[in-house]
Subunit: 104 residues, 2 copies
DNA sequence: CAGTTATATAATCGTTTACTTATAATAATT
DNA sequence: AATTATTATAAGTAAACGATTATATAACTG
């Protein structure tokens, strides 16, 4: 039952609201940790720990660019997740509203 | 973020090995509780509780037929789960091996 | 009606999980 | 070199979860 164990592990990654929101955000564009913390209005360690799980599960990639570590979606080789990912709502409004606030 | 909450709930249902195995079994054919208990080699209350969650989540239907309560998959109106369901391994061998033992 | 079979519910226990607070590590800035 | 900004890790805590044991309910059987 290796296959089922793997699938359960993968589903577990997707069974948390915060992680799903992170994935929805990364669907719009890559982001650094502080971006996500800002938008989701939670603590930085909380987001860091969720990102670690997503990275271990192979769902995101990370790239350091000077001080910032950028995370991006990694959905290659995961066609069975695409229909779930499609269920994630757009985060455009939420991103725009944050930018708007910043500019004032 | 109602949508994301719902999705997280749904994924949580799929994030347990026992529940995934039950779903894989029901993909082959409908089954009563004692069938599943028999095959998965666990206790009856354990299976009953998992089935309850699956039923509350709308993933299975139940029908009483005299003493037995038969459970079956309910994947109508859940197209976004089909690709996950496809990932479930076939349970044919496991079903056959049990029948074989029974006949001896 | 008594006993048996099938299933559900309740109570309990140990583990896991998400989150917080505190601290460490790394890089940039002055 | 000291300070600030960004991220990671560690430790602690409360809540959620899966499994077990015990008990209740429902249907069939003799």
């Amino acid at each position: 039952m290796e296959k089922i164990d793997e699938l359960a592990e993968c589903m577990k990654l997707l069974s948390d609201k915060t992680r799903l929101t992170i994935l929805a955000l990364l669907k719009e564009r890559e982001m650094c940790v502080c971006d996500i913390v800002d938008i989701l209005d939670t603590t930085q360690p909380n987001i860091s720990q969720h990102l670690k799980k997503l990275k271990l599960g192979g769902l995101v990639n990370e790239t350091r660019r000077s001080q910032w570590i950028y995370y991006s979606l990694n959905m290659d080789n995961k066609p069975h997740l695409q229909s779930v990912m499609k269920q994630l709502p757009s985060m455009k409004e939420r991103l725009e509203s944050r930018t708007a606030l910043r500019c004032e």
